[in-house]
Symmetry: C2
Subunit: 200 residues, 2 copies
């Protein structure tokens, strides 16, 4: 299992620091027990009005043709590396409330929270998740008959991270590059937008 | 510290199961060390193209007038309970890419992921976060001079959860009610949208 620890400036939980999005996946299946717990973790994410607007369309390599169908909903450059992952999923947000069909302004936000929960549970189990915005939403809608009230936003590749050398070109280099982030002072503000909070 | 454990159907990490959104907060400050680590955890969330589109405007009770300004950006019903939290924040998403000003379809999603990271770190430190969609985005834009490329989407109340009896009416009952979620079969699909995956 490959790891890539964040170079944090302040202490964070080990499972936050160790999470990363690999381009290389090992040839090792994910057990049913692990997989179901990943989605159980997503299930308990918070959401606006407890709407739980997220859903996932999931295929494992064992599903054969279903796996190929899901892979075909990713853009080609993502297929190149994601096809090594034993589990693929699409993250879908219901953008209208069930109870009144009005727009849910938090729908995409809450999908992001649910997928973060899923990813955290994955980290806790030695698994890694690589999310992508590079999917084909129109194709996904057609292939999976996604209703108008919902939209596929993300792809998720799930499995065991492998050493970067196993990633296809040109992704190997990305797996070998340390993770970079803005400084806290660039996004934690006080008093007005853009003004760094003194504690940051 | 009050806790409210999820009644999960499948095992999840203790920090996922114990996370909840309290309406009652204890009269206890959050240390600077804890606070900075919460935002450090948000910092390491994944994002589309590593854009990191999230930012937070933060005020602690010690900030006095700044705290009051932030509180005034929440809708009245949320002010009623959130004013007991020692730390308040607004979650802001930059909805256009820095590099080309084009819309970032993942902006709200990635704010959701960052806030989930923040919340996870809070759980690890015995703190709780209650997020709200019930804010006044136009007022927030005015008060904090939020540029057009960004929008305030969420409020966050951060602190130590207190016993439900400490929540103001009518929120006490919500704190006493067990957390409810859809079944996995209602949101984990295979083959077509709405068709439960057999592993779920």
């Amino acid at each position: 299992m490959s790891v890539k620890i964040a170079s944090t400036n302040h202490p964070v939980h080990a499972l936050v620091a160790s999470r990363f999005s690999p381009y290389a996946f090992a040839d090792r299946e994910v057990t049913r027990e692990d997989l179901v717990s990943l989605f159980e973790a997503a299930r308990w994410a918070p959401s606006s009005y407890n709407e739980q607007p997220w859903s996932y369309i999931v295929a494992t390599r064992e599903d054969g043709k279903e796996y190929e169908r899901l892979l075909s909903c990713l853009v080609d450059p993502n297929q190149a590396w994601a096809k090594a992952a034993p589990v693929l999923a699409l993250g879908v947000a219901r953008t209208r409330f069930v109870r009144n069909d009005k727009p849910n302004a938090a729908a995409l936000h809450d999908l992001g929270a649910a997928s973060a929960h899923l990813t955290f549970e994955a980290s806790a189990r030695g698994l890694a998740v690589h999310q992508m915005i590079g999917i084909l939403p129109d194709r996904a809608r057609e292939v999976y008959s996604i209703p108008d009230h919902s939209e596929a936003l993300t792809g998720l590749a799930i499995g065991y991270a492998a050493e970067p050398a196993n990633a296809p070109d040109p992704y190997r280099e990305r797996d070998e590059t340390p993770r970079q982030r803005k400084a806290l002072t660039e996004f934690v503000f006080s008093g007005s937008y853009g003004k760094a909070n003194t504690f940051a």
